[in-house]
Symmetry: C2
Subunit: 338 residues, 2 copies
DNA sequence: GTGAAAGCGCTAACAG
DNA sequence: CTGTTAGCGCTTTCAC
């Protein structure tokens, strides 16, 4: 069932049918209803390829996921993707997922852009200095960054207020009487980690506290690195009374390290972790957490945003969305005990 | 730079240029080289949308990932996807990822099929009785199943020989002197779990052993359910000397449960787990495992297969691929000690 | 309010 | 071997 058949069936021109279906104004109400009904009963579905060709749009947006053989995939990424596809579906826009090796990533963008396969991109896992963003900005391809890079004034992004989250965490601990606060963080090449780190320093400064260099520990986005970092922290002669961990994978490892040493979490040592504890974990402790919209929700919002970006009739300011985190109180922190 | 511009530049017809670029035989070698070189230097990239329209093919395959809000995404899925996209890229075929709620899943297939957005599908997470497969078979849409369903004779699939894997595991334990063997498994609605379970029973039968009903424990695809299952097993008055676990998420939990009870893995209790221990885990024990091609490798092979399926000139037998698992010896099993 | 006709960029018969 | 000519199915000026 194509447009021609449908219009023949209705004794109308393809033009009219097309306009009726696409909600143009200059069609009589009666005709429109007749057309829509016939389309429904005959099960007419416009061919998206033909439509794309005629309109010069791909009706698809791309997302490139850099994943080497042997890499561990990030389950949260899939959840974002799920939200994105859901938010894109009503507009009949598809999500094209391309994976690329880290070094071949720009080529992949290039292929997709020049091949006119997508109308725009979502760039995930933003780095502080991100050559993908530089590249896209330079080529003028519409895109939305999931996370800001260092230079974030002149392109659209969706992000969390990472500084604010850390400040909230510090404030809470300070209110509980803590003054010796440690911080475990992922690589500062990730901009979210950089921002959270900056927020931690700022929160400390605001509270009149000086962060101790030996209590600022790098870890990674992995359970094991969190375990190691926490172990190293606990090996020190002078211990903090509280610790903030900037991602929940490292968080799992850190908590396990404390348990292994018989430390009473929330009493001996207060802990606040970003995003709580991941869903499928053996730990049952309710962690005090910095929480943000879920990955799915974020995906949904990003779907709306990227559509606006592509439409191109919004001000840049309306294409930059910063979500405010909150503190979800749990049982992993408590008053500072001398 | 489009085809017309390129042919104008070369003083050739669009036809000839098109044929030269698409590797048709009836073009003189000289012309072809000239064309290819010009295309390269001028950076010509054919418009895939136009090509799709002309050829009546979407040049994309779809993969539907059912993910409800709140579900935990399976990182391995992303690894498969990565392999698939990689394998599809040389043929300029895109991977369209659509997520769907469980109940809306068939609608999603329908939309993609009738919208002619894809030439075929890969169906992941196959169930033993899978309505998606029934649906696709019935509508005649080309597809490849990642995992067989109960009725698997008349459609293409890629799968592991799950029965064989369990038999291997049992045989190894029996050779080590074990006779009391427990089995922890995911929901038997998943066909892989059903098959591994069947393989376990078969292996026991072949060894002249009768499986004990109370040592067959259901768990899920999750750490915590593995922990629970193993705890329940260890609470029993009579204990087995070995246990096989059919997935590595439950495996993590089970191992942790043993450690928490001070059980010496490989001495007090021998353990074999499918797929080893997942990458980012706090456990360091080298597990004896049933191993299979990695997710990425599987994805690559599936990419080849689905292309054959779509081409449609292979026998069904060549479109069904069964990979043989192997045993990777580790430190988690040992001789049965009375 | 409706229709005729010209593309969108490429492929594929069919001639030569 | 190469070129001419129709499409693929839809959108969109431009007339009426």
């Amino acid at each position: 069932m194509d447009l021609k058949a449908l219009s023949l069936h209705l004794n109308l021109s393809m033009t009219t049918v097309s306009r009726a279906l696409n909600g143009y104004s200059d069609v009589s109400l009666k005709t429109r209803q007749r057309v829509i009904e016939a389309a429904q009963t005959l099960g007419y579905q416009p061919n998206p390829v033909a439509r794309s060709l005629a309109r010069g749009k791909a009706n698809a947006i791309g997302i490139v996921y850099p994943l080497e053989a042997g890499d561990v995939a990030d389950p949260r990424f899939l959840e974002v993707v799920s939200g994105i596809t859901e938010g894109l579906a009503p507009a009949k826009i598809d999500l094209l997922l391309a994976s690329a090796t880290h070094k071949g990533e720009l080529d992949t963008y290039d292929r997709l852009v020049h091949g006119r396969r997508v109308d725009g991109f979502i760039v995930a896992r933003t780095l502080r200095h991100d050559e993908r963003i530089d590249y896209l900005r330079q080529t003028g391809v519409p895109f939305l960054a999931y996370g800001r890079s260092a230079q974030c004034n002149d392109y659209p992004w969706f992000d969390f207020d990472n500084e604010a989250g850390s400040v909230l965490a510090v404030e809470r601990l300070v209110a509980l009487g803590h003054r010796r606060i440690a911080y475990i963080h992922a690589s500062l090449d990730y901009n979210f980690a950089f921002q959270r780190h900056a927020g931690f320093l700022q929160g400390m400064r605001m509270a009149g506290l000086a962060p101790e260099a030996q209590w600022l520990l790098p870890a990674g986005l992995a359970r094991r690195s969190g375990y190691t970092a926490m172990s190293r922290l606990l090996d020190q002669p002078a211990l903090p009374s509280a610790v903030i961990i900037d991602n929940n994978l490292a968080g799992v490892g850190a908590v396990r390290a404390m348990l292994d040493r018989g430390i009473a979490i929330g009493r001996d040592l207060s802990v606040i972790v970003y995003d709580g504890i991941p869903p499928d974990t053996l730990l049952t402790l309710k962690m005090t957490s910095v929480v943000q919209p879920t990955q799915q929700e974020s995906g949904l919002r990003m779907a709306q945003l990227i559509q606006k970006v592509i439409a191109g009739d919004d001000l840049l300011a309306d294409l930059q969305m910063l979500c405010q985190p909150e503190i979800l109180p749990g049982e992993s922190d408590g008053p500072c005990r001398p």
